[in-house]
């Protein structure tokens, strides 16, 4: 099952931290304080826009597209979140439309490390070195944000937030080596479980797209990738989860990012420069089906995302070389 490089885009002059994609568009965030947009549908896959780079005063750490819209949120080390979109009132059909700044959200005390939209686009979650996770409710235009909850149960930086693809369930990963899951409960959000097991910072997590079961994959500084499974609701109202699998230990250094494709494949990348794809052969048993060494040359890889473009599964990776690489994967 080969991974083939389709295109390497030299987008940034410093670390590329985060990638998201929607509707054939890829957004990237970098330490060079820029956010760029790339058209993945074009045959030559090219950069189409650079957002106003005077907006953030420090590294842009994370980008996330709002589902069912063309709105993009970006979290920065300058402690703010910017929200971007296109003015839909203007009649500019068929012509190129510049993406505009819709809102700046303030609240975190210091570096924002990750932002994520819930599946319906109703909530925006953000997390920070200030140890908190904030849940924001957004209006339809993406211009007004109301903070619904500030979750402060992690004992250290919160590195990453991820929503379930079809439920209002949020996972937060932390420097305290744990993952916490959060759910709305009569107007407030509460922690329904803590996943313990990683022996280092948890850098990222991603839920499985599935109607029949509830699972989460996570990756860590301890060089492992783990799959966790929901078992049942406990007596005390907490959810009971269990570690279902530790994926084959192929990474030799910190694993910075994981992504679970709708088709069931898991991809991981990290400090060792490896891009790995795993397949579940039977429930809870995984094997490596593809790997690419030096996927960004000698540089560390910070992010991996599956994207479906023109009905093809693509892998998008971003590294310390400032490049975004677009890969095809043939299952």
């Amino acid at each position: 099952m080969p991974i083939t490089l389709l295109k390497s885009l030299e987008l940034h002059s410093d670390k590329l931290w985060s990638i998201d994609s929607a509707k054939g568009l890829m957004a990237t965030a970098s330490s060079d304080r820029k956010i760029k947009l790339v058209n993945l549908r074009a045959t030559d896959i090219r950069e189409v826009e650079e957002l106003d780079d005077s907006t953030h005063k420090k590294s842009v750490r994370s980008v996330a597209f709002r589902p069912h819209s063309s709105i993009l949120a970006a979290g920065s080390f300058d402690s703010t979140i910017s929200v971007w979109g296109q003015d839909e009132n203007e009649d500019t059909q068929g012509t190129f439309q510049e993406t505009e700044l819709l809102a700046i959200i303030e609240g975190h005390e210091n570096e924002v490390k990750s932002v994520a939209w819930s599946h319906a686009g109703e909530f925006l979650a953000s997390c920070s070195r200030d140890k908190s996770v904030w849940i924001w409710e957004a209006d339809e235009m993406g211009e007004e944000y109301e903070c619904l909850s500030v979750l402060q149960e992690h004992s250290q930086d919160v590195k990453h937030v991820a929503w379930h693809p079809s439920m209002n369930l949020l996972a937060s990963s932390s420097y305290d080596d744990t993952i916490r899951l959060w759910r709305e409960d009569s107007d407030d959000w509460e922690c329904v479980t803590v996943l313990n097991g990683h022996e280092g910072t948890v850098w990222c997590s991603a839920f499985e797209t599935s109607e029949s079961q509830l699972r989460l994959v996570s990756c860590s500084d301890d060089a492992t990738v783990r799959v966790w499974k929901y078992v049942e609701e406990g007596d005390d109202g907490e959810d009971i989860w269990t570690l279902e699998a530790v994926l084959p230990r192929i990474h030799s250094r910190a694993v910075y990012s994981v992504s679970w494709s709708p088709g069931g494949f898991i991809a991981s990348v990290g400090s060792d420069g490896l891009l790995v794809v795993y397949k579940e052969t039977e429930l809870g048993t995984w094997e490596v089906v593809a790997e690419k060494e030096e996927a960004h040359g000698v540089f560390e890889i910070n992010t991996v995302k599956w994207a479906n473009v023109n009905n093809k599964e693509l892998l998008l990776t971003g590294g310390d070389d400032g490049n975004a690489n677009v890969w095809s994967f043939d299952p």
């Binding site: 590294s59 500084d221 400090s271 060792d272 000698v298």
Partner: protein, 224 residues
């Protein structure tokens, strides 16, 4: 109340710090390498597309032995010291980075509270630097530096570690993964400091902080 966290640190004489000894063989090796043998080596590099091939290494060994013999015979061949070979063409044969080179990069960093260098304070020591060089330069190599704070509750340990990391990230080629650790038993909060120093995101955020970067730049201003 003391102004310093450690008022009386032990100090080493800068002239006695480890440095690379002048290697006579190296000098001879360069001086005696005549144009013909350089060209032969370049040719071989072209043919084999890499300096790691066995044939090339054997040739190099023979060259070295010949050079050594010439040195022992105290014979200086005429006209061989001044070759017009372009240095850049010889970059293929560049020495790998070793512990001494890493030491030289970081030993001259200033301590944040004393007018002394990290080498003089024995915060960095040559035996505590480990270079795991991968000969293939398209692959990742590793540098591990263990530092010894002057006192076990030194609150500046993180800042010192950050200074070392910034210096190495700026000086070493990107293929090097840098790990900075406090030497075992040298600090009360060893694990916490180690975790922080090796968290790339926290280091990146620190480098976005102008005030902190100012302090680090000052520490690095004494580097040679």
């Amino acid at each position: 109340m003391s102004e310093f966290i450690n008022e009386n640190p032990a100090i080493l004489d800068e002239n006695l710090l480890p440095s690379r000894p002048e290697d006579k063989n190296d000098t001879i090796w360069d001086a005696q390498l005549n144009l013909a043998s350089i060209q032969r080596r370049m040719q071989l590099i072209d043919i084999h597309q890499g300096a790691d091939c066995k044939v090339y290494r054997n040739i190099e060994l023979v060259d070295r032995l010949l050079a050594k013999e010439a040195y022992l015979n105290d014979a200086v061949a005429p006209g061989l010291t001044d070759t017009d070979t372009d240095d850049s063409e010889l970059e293929e044969a560049e020495d790998p980075i070793d512990a001494q080179e890493v030491y030289d990069m970081i030993a001259h960093i200033s301590d944040p509270e004393h007018p002394l260098t990290l080498g003089q304070l024995a915060v960095v020591n040559l035996p505590d630097i480990d270079v795991r060089e991968n000969k293939d330069k398209t692959k990742i190599s590793e540098v591990i530096v263990k530092i010894t704070p002057t006192i076990t509750h030194c609150s500046l340990a993180t800042l010192i570690g950050l200074g070392i990391r910034v210096r190495l990230e700026r000086s070493l080629p990107p293929r090097y993964r840098i790990t900075i650790l406090l030497k075992s038993g040298s600090h009360q909060s060893e694990n916490q400091v180690n975790k922080q120093l090796n968290d790339k995101e926290r280091v990146a955020a620190a480098c976005d902080n102008d005030q902190l970067l100012g302090v680090v730049s000052k520490m690095l201003s004494t580097c040679k």
